[in-house]
Amino acid sequence: MKRVIALLMENQPGALSRVVGLFSQRGYNIETLVVAPTSDPTLSRLTMSTEGDEKVVEQITKQLDKLIDVVLVTNLSDSEFVERELMLIKFDKDSFPKKAFEEKNIVSKSDEIVSVQVVGTSMELDNLVSEVQNNKPIEIVRSGPLGISSDKNTLSIEN
């Protein structure tokens, strides 16, 4: 089962390598990884998805929490949460599947190439990719999902 873990870490050189290194060191898989500074520039927020049973994910969060540069960790999959991922796809103009997209999805257009952007859950994007497979997309780029809990809880040092 896919789990989404979000964490806040010190925005310092080497912090990301500690997080990523932990996964290879302990034999965990990272499926996706998104990282960017937060509105507090001393902190970065990192969202990752991983496959594993409950026990493995509990170990992962505990080990992440142990890293000195990691300030807070949460397993978003533990409760209701919203997950969104961005995907960019480009097609030959001739094989562009017009019906699959709305006009507003188109982010660039030339005589030869049409590029679109789509936002959705990872599963929705997976489905879309299969749907347009026959149109032979030239390139597909995915961001990996971001997550936010659906309730009042926030991942913040202010709490």
Binding site: M9, E10, P13, G14, S17, R18, G21, Q25, K55, E58, Q59, K62, Q63, D65, K66, I68, D69, V70, V71, I157
Partner: protein, 582 residues
């Protein structure tokens, strides 16, 4: 507080002084030379020049294990840093508080493959508790403060401070301010401990009929031996210690079952396997203990006290997880017990203790092997350890290397006090024994410090014999010489049809007596059983000199008991032909 202007190098040494550091171990080189010059110009911190950086880190580690205070090592960049890696990994696996300072090439040269450049932060990342790459000279005091705080609190561990050479430049001075406290929003190790589960733990204790207290290195690290012993005495529960935990409970106490695990005693392993309650304190259920976790102590409830939340339920599910310092949690347990009208199953526990006692009588270790005399004309390695125990009256600090001699020392020397037994349990680092003994001897100049080793391990850091002469360290090296890599050979005997692939030396061993003498020490050779005890007496009595006691032992001896791989803890080999299962 000293607010005078200092260079980065001076600030570093002064910060160490303010952290209470009295001595450090190291080896100079280009990127560390500003620091070495600052060491030359002060009298607060002594520097011990080792012969290889691995020795520096092991010595700092040995110092830390014996004293409980953080050990410090200083190395240069590149090969100095990479040579420190084995020492760091050793300290990481055994959670010992050390701070390793490495020189780095100038900040402007980082990433250019400059001379003696290694990405120390990257190379050491998986084997440190934390590391710092210094970004400016002014940051040095705060980083030192944080490094010592991190190394010594929570689950202790090694911390690296990598300092580019330009930040120790003597020409650049700044106002020195040493922070009085550390504030890290991302690091708050549990101090008090999560004691909410204490009542539930005591409920389980009251129900138990076949309890075992299983304690590890965490009890020693956290100076909680007194509390552990008090708890065991209060309850009259049998106690076993891990390899790292020996000495946490008095080794010669009748309640002590000996070490458990791979080469644990019959009674300790049987007690674990048959227990209905395991109280684990500062131990982590590693594979050398549990054997197959799926078959581990299936009838037992587990109370697990550990300061590291990630250790709890990592391998074995904890019915009662208690995350907190061993000392605090044990004190809370004792308090809860004393506050109740405790109803133990006393008759069942009596019966259980009797069963354990019978196990010990029938299959326990023979601690009187000296009385057996020579076996087939040879000295047994166990007899060497027993002779050492007798001659030192059980009071010596014992360091060891890794292999059969380590297991024999752990099995046959009764450690009555914590911090008396110093070995590389987690990483299993050959070469640890002699340099760690240097750290112990420097911390306790008047104590008897013996390094129990073998002819394989001792050659991995033998160069430190020179350091021992320079600083007058009267270590007793007890070389249990079976002319083979004994533990490798044992496995080859048991699992590889006796094919001794690369585990013998084909008569290439040095004359250890001559070797010791050439380093300026005393060497004594023992080949006959009749000479053993008098030679040991002489060795220990030479208080002011390093003595290398080289004892030829039976190369065919194996370490038993030995757990059968991939099975439960009651599956043990008890001898070459004797096993506990059919």
């Amino acid at each position: 507080m000293d607010k005078s202007n200092k260079s980065g190098a001076e600030a570093l040494i002064h910060s160490l002084h303010l952290e209470g550091v009295e001595l450090m171990f190291g080896y100079p080189g280009g990127a560390a030379l500003h620091i070495y010059d600052a060491i030359f110009n002060q009298n607060y911190v002594d520097h011990i020049l080792v012969r290889h950086e691995q020795g520096a880190v092991h010595a700092a580690d040995g110092y830390a294990r014996a004293t409980g205070k953080p050990g410090v090592a200083l190395v240069t960049s590149g090969p100095g840093a990479t040579n420190a890696i084995t020492g760091l990994a050793t300290a990481y696996m055994d959670s010992t508080p050390i701070v390793v300072i490495s020189g780095q090439v100038k900040s402007g040269l980082i990433g250019t493959d400059s001379f003696q450049e290694t990405d120390m932060i990257g190379v050491s990342r998986p084997i440190v508790k934390h590391s710092f790459l210094v970004q400016s000279a002014e940051d040095i005091p705060e980083i030192v403060k944080k490094a010592f705080h991190i190394a010594t609190t929570g689950r202790p561990g090694p911390v690296v401070i990598d300092i580019p050479k330009d930040f120790t430049d003597p020409e650049y001075k700044f106002e020195f301010n040493y922070p009085s406290e550390v504030n890290m929003r991302s690091y708050n190790p549990p101090k008090k401990g999560d004691t909410s589960r204490i009542k539930e733990a005591v409920d389980l204790i009251e129900q138990s009929k076949k309890p075992v207290i299983y304690s590890g290195g965490g009890v020693i690290q956290n100076d909680a031996s007194e509390e552990l012993t008090a708890l065991a005495k209060l309850l009259n529960f049998p106690v076993t210690n891990t390899l790292m935990g020996l000495g946490a409970f008095p080794g010669s106490d009748p309640q002590f079952m000996g070490m458990l695990g791979m080469h644990g005693t019959y009674q300790a392993n049987m007690a674990m396997h048959n227990a209905d309650l395991i109280i684990a304190v500062g131990a982590r259920f590693d594979d050398r203990i549990t054997n197959d976790p799926k078959q581990f102590a299936l009838g037992a409830k587990k109370i697990h006290i550990d300061v590291d939340a990630a250790s709890v339920s990592k391998i074995i599910h904890a019915d009662i997880p208690i995350v907190g310092s061993a000392k605090e949690c044990l004190a809370a347990l004792i308090k809860e017990i004393n506050s109740r009208d405790l109803q133990l199953n006393n008759s069942a526990i009596e019966e259980w203790n009797q069963i354990i006692s019978d196990w010990r009588d029938n299959h326990g270790l023979n601690h009187s092997m000296l009385e057996l005399g020579p076996q087939n004309g040879k000295i047994l390695p166990q007899q060497v350890v027993q002779s050492l125990y007798k001659e030192t009256e059980g009071q010596a600090f014992i360091t060891s290397d890794v292999g059969q001699h380590q297991m024999f020392a752990a099995q046959y020397y009764h450690f009555d006090k914590p911090r008396q037994w110093i070995n590389s349990g987690g990483l299993g680092t050959m070469g640890f024994g002699l340099p760690s003994a240097m750290g112990v001897q420097l911390a306790y100049p008047d104590a008897t410090v013996a390094c129990v080793t073998g002819e394989g391990s001792i050659q991995m850091c033998i160069q430190e014999l020179s350091t021992c002469l320079q600083y007058g360290l009267p270590i007793k090296i007890i070389n249990i010489n079976n002319a083979a890599l004994g533990m490798v050979r044992q496995w080859q005997d048991m699992q590889y049809g006796g094919r001794h692939s690369s585990s013998t030396y084909e008569n290439s061993l040095p004359d250890f007596v001559a070797l010791a003498e050439s380093y300026g020490h005393i060497g004594i050779k023992v080949t006959k059983f009749e000479e053993l005890e008098s030679a040991m007496k002489e060795c220990i009595s030479l208080k002011d000199r390093l003595v290398f006691l080289d004892v030829d032992v039976d190369p065919n001896e194996h370490v038993y008991p030995m757990l059968e791989a991939g099975n439960a803890m009651d599956h043990m080999w008890l001898g070459k032909e004797e096993k506990t299962w059919k």
